[in-house]
């Protein structure tokens, strides 16, 4: 393919605050992601990392600038970009299997094929046995696995994940991260992953994009050149962690300053 898969070209996103004053969620942000890359977006709250995801998903249109996917400007949400939300996005009235089948149903895949592919997708996240359970009968970690299976079964080119593991306990989170890496390498899908957790970013990403708030900007774009699977106890892991923590600290000093200015104003 010529050109990057995802291209944010000098994107700004402005919305009205309660008092009507403009809030810069993103200011002149440019970011390119190649096909098959695993990129983490990290930054303090209000840095616009979720806004980037929402723009690419097609939920928002940029105030200025362009968001291109495969070289073309976006026109609303579509199955070529899967999304995994933080939680409570599985349809509560459908079983795990029916949830996974939903995207295939929209593509008018026949019922037997749909069923087989959904079960395969559930198998890949280790939940074939829970296919006929409703979301309220699943644990938080299992729900997120189903959500990942639901996003992947329609074979999107990129999966957008908005702090998908933030609401599960630490141990479950580790296994979810390992499973996600495995799926990423099996399918070759690109992943754009929002987190506020440095450890998660270093464990998962090939590239960590460090963002800053008020207005939302990209501060640094750091490559993590560690082989998979990564060892959290290794010295290299610690070094990468420190590098990103330092970048975040540099960014947040700027944020504190602007916060102070805003309060003074």
């Amino acid at each position: 393919m010529s050109g990057p898969l995802i291209d944010f070209d000098r994107v700004s996103q402005i919305y009205a605050a309660r008092d009507g004053s403009p809030v810069w969620a993103l200011s002149d942000v440019s970011l390119r992601v190649e096909a098959g890359e695993f990129v983490c977006l990290i930054g303090p709250s209000g840095c616009g990392k979720s806004t980037l995801i929402h723009l690419l998903a097609g939920f928002l249109k940029p105030t200025s600038g362009a968001v291109r996917f495969r070289g073309r400007p976006l026109d609303g949400p579509g199955p070529d970009r899967g999304v995994v939300f933080q939680e409570y996005a599985l349809f509560a009235w459908m079983t795990a299997r029916q949830n996974v089948e939903f995207g295939l149903r929209m593509q008018r895949v026949s019922a037997p094929v749909r069923r087989r592919r959904a079960l395969e997708a559930l198998d890949r996240v280790g939940l074939r046995h829970a296919a006929d359970r409703y979301p309220h009968e699943l644990s938080g970690g299992m729900r997120q696995r189903v959500a990942v299976a639901r996003a992947l079964v329609v074979e999107p080119e990129v999966v957008l994940m908005d702090e998908p593991f933030a609401a599960v306990d630490a141990m479950t989170r580790t296994t979810l991260q390992e499973d996600l890496l495995r799926l990423w390498r099996e399918t070759g899908v690109s992943v754009l992953f929002v987190t506020h957790n440095i450890d998660e970013a270093v464990f998962l990403a090939q590239r960590v994009v460090v963002m800053g708030a008020g207005p939302g900007v990209i501060r640094e774009d750091l490559a993590v050149d560690l082989p998979y699977p990564r060892d959290r106890g290794s010295a290299e892991f610690g070094r990468e962690y420190a590098r990103i923590a330092a970048a975040l600290a540099r960014g947040s000093r700027g944020t504190d300053q602007s916060d102070g200015e805003r309060r003074a104003a």
């Binding site: 999304v83 996005a89 509560a92 929209m106 409703y134």
Partner: protein
């Protein structure tokens, strides 16, 4: 597990031995027995509840029976005891008078409620999904909603006569509003994550509406329907009291004219039973149709 242990125990002990505790068969047996005991416990609790329910009814009947008989301050003509009411009830039931009246009332209530369900859910969906329609209809719908439905009884009789039309129209009118308003709220408040998930998975407008919006709003819609059932009963009675040729409330108003309090009390009991059974049936139906919707009752 291990043949060795089996051999040893099998040789050393008689056939009545208990297998080692960690043997799988023993665990299964324990689990089976545990489940059985658990089910027994649940059944016993259910029986006890039913028994207490019946006791409550019997206590109420006993007090009602005793008051007009023992108390000199109560006129038994104005408050006949249940035994007298029952003596009146049986011949009316056998003659077919009561079943005919029940059927007439049920038909009106069901028809009116059915119309209200269809129109109320549709109106709620449309006004919640289409902003323009919402703002245009808002003042009119809320204005009408504020008018107590009973106030429309005389008008309804003028417009639709004292036949079936006015009764069905009143029931439909009254139960339309709770159904419409709850459907509207339920549809308006469908979580954004559901709508966004559907959009990312390629769902169009119609698929989103039928497969996502409606089921997501269902708990609210069902709450509205339940309220609608209660309201239909009120309007049914108001409509029948204002002039009818049959029906449970008509029977009561006849009893009133003949100064037959026992007949009026039969009507009251029938209406209470109606409401109770309709509500229970509704909850049972929800449990059956929507197993994921666990907070009903």
């Amino acid at each position: 597990m291990t043949a060795a242990t089996d051999d040893v125990t099998g040789n050393d002990l008689s056939s009545s031995r208990r297998p080692a505790l960690e043997a799988p068969s023993d665990r299964d047996a324990f689990a089976k027995e545990f489940r059985r005991a658990h089910r027994r416990g649940l059944r016993r609790a259910a029986w006890l509840r039913a028994l207490l329910n019946v006791t409550g009814i019997l206590l109420f009947l006993a007090v009602w029976e005793a008051v007009p008989r023992l108390g000199t301050w109560v006129n038994p003509v104005l408050l006949p005891p249940p035994s007298v009411v029952f003596d009146t009830f049986v011949p009316m039931l056998l003659s077919g008078e009561i079943p005919a009246n029940i059927l007439a009332s049920l038909r009106r209530a069901a028809l009116g409620f059915g119309i209200a369900t269809a129109t109320g859910v549709t109106a709620g969906l449309l006004t919640a999904r289409i902003g323009l329609l919402h703002h245009v209809s808002e003042p009119i719908l809320h204005g009408f909603r504020s008018v107590p439905s009973i106030a429309l009884v005389p008008l309804s009789v003028l417009w639709f006569g004292i036949g079936e039309g006015s009764k069905v129209a009143l029931v439909a009118w009254g139960s339309f509003f709770p159904i419409w308003i709850t459907t509207f709220i339920g549809v308006r408040d469908v979580p954004a994550a559901y709508l966004r998930s559907a959009a990312c998975l390629g769902a169009g407008r119609l698929a989103t509406l039928l497969l996502v919006v409606l089921p997501a709003a269902l708990p609210m819609i069902l709450a509205g329907l339940r309220q609608g059932i209660a309201v239909s009963l009120i309007l049914l009675v108001a409509a029948e009291l204002s002039g009818a040729r049959e029906g449970v409330a008509y029977m009561m108003s006849t009893g009133h004219q003949m100064f037959r309090v026992d007949i009026m009390l039969i009507g009251l009991v029938l209406l209470g039973t109606f409401g109770f059974i309709a509500d229970r049936l509704f909850v049972a139906l929800i449990r059956r149709l929507f197993p994921w919707y666990t907070t009903a009752s």
